[in-house]
């Protein structure tokens, strides 16, 4: 019986550890960033891996050290059933999202029970958007050639990033969940420019907001053989008063393997979520 085998190891440790690197690999080398600082390679971390052309080799199975960002990009305490987070906003320096007033009101609305159902990922819309896919607590696999980087998210669809500084973005009328991405190298940093978003993804379960005007510049900087420092600067003048930057570490697990997710099959959650939404709406009307 599994239970007998498991009980011995169940009661210790943070079994619900959020956003921890898979199997602890690289954890010592990549603790939470301090004040926007870069990750430090531990003695076991090794040098940056490289492709034959000399560019950093980013490929492999990763988990993000998202530090609770899927429950709020700003630092926030554990509150009831909502997990706390250390905050991943490194600019502005105060770690606060520079939201416009209407966005603050919309965010408050999204946090009511009736709106929890509205998070697209709750509907098994698997494209989490950019940058949510990079800090949601679910693994992903990076594949890389000299001309392309593909990020295969176990739960959150995929992205293709052509490495071509001369490539133009898609026509403005094309709007996508994951946006349209173009990458180029600046030294050892892969810089990815993304536009053409549809404005539908939530930035996290807290309901933080982006619009179709979102423009994201991501920087993937390997700091050792297992850790990528990931930064994303979001510019969205419809929602925010100024650009802001988030930062997390991506931790490679050489032994990690991707599993299949069939979110729509035998979905038990959606009807329940709808019931909650209906109950929430009913309560609000009273």
């Amino acid at each position: 019986m599994l239970g007998a085998a498991l009980v011995a190891v169940l009661t210790t440790g943070d079994a619900y550890a959020q956003d921890a690197p898979a199997r602890g690999r690289g954890a010592g080398a990549a603790g939470p960033a301090q004040g926007g600082g870069r990750g430090r390679g531990g003695p076991e971390a090794g040098a940056i891996r490289r492709l034959p052309d000399g560019k950093p080799d980013l490929s492999g199975f990763y988990n993000s050290n998202g530090r609770g960002a899927n429950y709020g990009l700003e630092a926030h305490p554990n509150q009831g059933l909502t997990p706390g987070g250390q905050g991943i906003v490194v600019d502005p320096p105060d770690g606060k999202l520079p939201m416009q007033e209407w966005a603050k009101a919309e965010l408050k609305s999204r946090q009511t029970p009736a709106r929890g159902y509205d998070d697209p990922t709750a509907h098994c819309v698997m494209a989490a958007g950019v940058p949510r896919g990079m800090y949601v607590p679910s693994p992903f696999f990076i594949m890389q050639t000299p001309t392309d980087v593909a990020i295969l998210f176990e739960r959150m669809a995929w992205r293709r990033i052509p490495i071509d500084a001369n490539r133009k973005h898609l026509p403005d009328t094309v709007r996508l969940w994951q946006g349209d991405s173009v990458g180029h190298w600046e030294g050892d940093t892969l810089v990815v420019d993304s536009t053409n978003f549809n404005g539908k993804p939530w930035l996290n379960e807290a309901g933080e907001i982006t619009s179709h005007a979102l423009h994201v510049v991501e920087r993937f900087t390997p700091v050792n053989a297992t850790t990528i420092m990931y930064r994303a600067t979001l510019t969205d003048p419809i929602v925010y008063t100024r650009p802001f930057t988030v930062e997390v570490q991506l931790i490679r697990d050489p032994e990690g393997e991707m599993l299949e997710v069939a979110c729509h099959e035998d979905n038990q959650d959606l009807a329940h979520m709808k019931d909650i939404k209906d109950a929430g709406i009913g309560l609000e009307k009273k």
């Binding site: 498991l6 899927n70 009831g80 599993l259």
Partner: protein, 136 residues
């Protein structure tokens, strides 16, 4: 026995590190003020999407009530060492968690124990469950 050992090792390796996988707001779906602790017999451990569910028949003063407990996502449970056959129907469990906001017999499973007090990892979809249960 070999498999049991393997599972135990897998659990020891994986449990502290694999992120909980959730895709909806716990606060929206479950009521933190409706903490419950129920004992019952497993009807089915359903490896459904996007979360697995445990269905439990609970004897409430002679009346059998069926409860549904949300657990983690199937791939997260798999990485923690769970397998589909590991929780057969009829197993008596004590499940602690939080009831759904609409008052239905639905809850988020925070912890699962056997009647002798031994604890079975819940694989909760809620990464904050353990802290809440321990009053942290």
């Amino acid at each position: 026995m070999i498999r049991r050992t393997i599972l135990a090792v897998m659990a020891a390796v994986f449990l502290v590190a694999i992120p909980a996988i959730a895709h909806h707001s716990f606060a929206a779906e479950f009521d933190e003020t409706k903490r419950i602790k129920l004992t019952g017999k497993v009807v089915e451990m359903r490896w459904s999407n996007p979360h697995a569910w445990i269905y439990l028949d609970v004897n409430n003063n002679g009346k059998i009530e069926r409860w549904a407990f949300e657990t983690g996502a199937a791939n997260g449970l798999f990485r923690r060492g769970w397998r589909k056959e590991d929780l057969p129907a009829g197993t008596v469990l004590v499940i602690e968690g939080w009831q759904a906001r609409n008052g239905s017999n639905t809850a988020n499973a925070g912890s699962i124990t056997f009647p002798d007090g031994k604890r079975l990892f819940a694989g909760s979809s809620n990464p904050n469950a353990e802290r809440q249960l321990e009053g942290k």
